[in-house]
């Protein structure tokens, strides 16, 4: 039953994750994020004055530019741009800087599967680096469904291509709130269980989707802890340098 993974990982085991902030000099914020072989570089410019046409000037506008590793920008890149933009709209507090535009440039360095989660983490870290006000961080994970119905987390490129179905999910990172317990729930579920983004490909049963959702959710807590620890340790470093 157990599917052997090429790199010897268990079904629920993620690839090693690493990210570093403040890697570019000229950008207002930047970050480098890697999940195994997948590597994405994100830069944030802004907030700049004014919004684009057809955007609400009472809110801050977010602009995402997706640069593929090679080749021209096509439909998949446009879709990534739209999904990433709308995901970041969810986590940013847009009313603090009305009538401004923040640009996020995402450069794919290498794609070895689970590209969107990696890009979401890189963009989040770059936004933190730029000091853009955020409600919470977004944590994303992708999972694959094998033909036998097994769920593999954080698939690489080869696994993505072989699989019957593929799900990419983004959740809000668990928040340590000073507010009383009850306020952090909505409709009987904690906020961290709400889904920011879902993207699926391939046919599966509805039950399989919910199994992926549960599996993904379970992996989020350790993942968000790693993410936060990385961000905190770096800000401590930066402060010591500045001091």
């Amino acid at each position: 039953m157990e599917v052997e993974r090429k790199d010897g990982r268990g079904a629920n085991q993620l690839r090693p994750m690493d990210h570093s902030r403040n890697v570019l000099n000229r950008a207002h914020g930047s970050a480098n994020c890697s999940h195994g072989g997948t590597r994405v570089l994100a830069a944030v410019f802004g907030p700049k004055a004014g919004t684009k046409k057809n955007e609400n000037p009472e809110k801050a506008c977010i602009e995402v530019v997706w640069k593929p590793k090679t080749g021209q920008i096509g439909k998949p890149e446009k879709e990534f741009e739209m999904i990433l933009k709308r995901t970041l709209q969810n986590i940013c507090i847009l009313t603090v800087n009305p009538n401004t535009t923040t640009s996020i440039i995402v450069q794919v360095v290498h794609d070895d599967g689970s590209l969107l989660p990696c890009a979401i983490h890189a963009a989040c870290a770059a936004l933190v680096d730029a000091g853009i006000p955020l409600k919470y961080l977004a944590v994303a994970i992708s999972c694959c469904l094998t033909d036998s119905g097994q769920i593999l987390l954080d698939p690489d490129k080869l696994e993505e291509q072989k699989m019957k179905a593929f799900v990419c999910l983004a959740f809000p990172c668990s928040v340590h709130s000073v507010l009383p317990e009850g306020s952090a729930t909505a409709g009987g579920e904690p906020v961290a269980h709400g889904l920011i983004t879902s993207l699926t490909q391939g046919v599966m049963t509805v039950d399989d989707y919910f199994r992926c959702l549960a599996q993904g959710r379970a992996a989020i807590t350790p993942l968000s802890n790693i993410l936060k620890k990385k961000l905190q340790s770096q800000s401590a470093n930066n402060q010591s340098i500045a001091g």
């Binding site: 439909k75 446009k78 709308r86 970041l88 269980h193 709400g194 889904l195 920011i196 879902s198 049963t205």
Partner: protein
């Protein structure tokens, strides 16, 4: 305008249209508390949907779908290609979604709408991954010639739920598709067999006599819902989409398998219960749409 009271106090004195424009969110929320929408629909009901097959005479298959005011025209043209080495007995499908400037005041000529390539990608992902069409059926001569189906969908009027209407028109166009009867000529090129010169071409057997209709299995249908607080609004209009910006699109096929569940960010979060409710609404909608499609097909056969 007196700015003494909050917008709450103004609502009783202001004209309805002015209130709708100045406080759109409040306007919609007051409807929602009464479980009704500005156009008189209950929250979970989709708009009236119509489907007409064979709208374009110059295409091999076409359909016009209308969901409320949202109008989509889909047409398929068949061309011949040499199949790739990896898949010598498979044809291809190329799907493109267009938003010409006539469809919405937001689209200007020369600057294509941002949404068009995204919907285009989602449509081809959905149609190709659903397994609705067996690409092997598009093969003419293994390794030599296969059909390439160019499906172009034009949005004629954009009023929300664009993906749903586009997908409906696309599957309807495929069910209307009549593949032309062709034969191979001496140069190895594929030529049409027309009625009037069958005598002259007697010696050339048509290659695809029995395959002029595609078999469609597991047809995908979709429903877009707007999530706002605890409310779920099925089949939003463009006004509702622009005011309450969180939406979720569920695609189920005719045997209720999940083809796609797409929630591209947005200000709100989707909780498990809301996702389950959306899937429930989509199940009902799939039955409705299937009936509409079947009626359109049988209407076509009567004519």
């Amino acid at each position: 305008m007196a700015a003494t009271g909050g917008p709450n106090d103004l609502s009783s004195e202001m004209e309805l249209d002015a209130f709708r424009r100045l406080f759109p969110l409040r306007f919609h929320e007051r409807h929602l508390t009464e479980s009704i929408r500005p156009d008189g629909r209950p929250l979970g009901k989709a708009r009236e949907t119509t489907l007409a097959l064979g709208a374009v005479a110059s295409a091999h298959g076409s359909a016009l779908a209308k969901i409320g005011c949202t109008t989509m025209l889909a047409a398929i043209k068949m061309e011949v290609m040499t199949p790739t080495v990896e898949t010598p007995d498979e044809g291809g499908i190329a799907i493109d979604f267009h938003m010409p400037p006539i469809c919405s005041p937001l689209v200007r000529p020369g600057r294509p709408a941002e949404l068009a390539p995204v919907i285009s990608k989602q449509l081809s992902d959905t149609i190709l991954s659903s397994g609705m069409i067996d690409l092997k059926e598009l093969c003419l001569v293994s390794g030599k010639a296969a059909w390439m189906a160019y499906l172009d969908i034009y949005c004629l009027d954009a009023d929300g739920a664009l993906f749903d209407a586009a997908l409906l028109s696309a599957v309807a166009a495929f069910s209307h598709l009549q593949i032309p009867v062709v034969s191979l000529n001496d140069d190895g090129r594929v030529v049409l067999v027309s009625e009037d010169n069958t005598v002259a071409m007697k010696e050339k057997e048509p290659v695809n006599k029995e395959r002029i209709k595609l078999t469609l299995n597991n047809i995908p249908f979709s429903l877009t819902c707007v999530l706002h607080k605890n409310y779920i609004l099925a089949d939003p209009t463009s006004e509702e989409e622009s005011i309450m910006e969180t939406f979720l699109t569920v695609v189920l096929d005719s045997s209720f398998q999940l083809v796609s569940l797409n929630k591209p960010g947005g200000p709100g979060l989707a909780h498990t219960s809301a996702i389950q409710d959306c899937i429930k609404l989509t199940r009902q909608r799939v039955k409705e749409l299937q009936k509409i499609l079947n009626e359109a097909i049988s209407d076509m056969e009567v004519d």
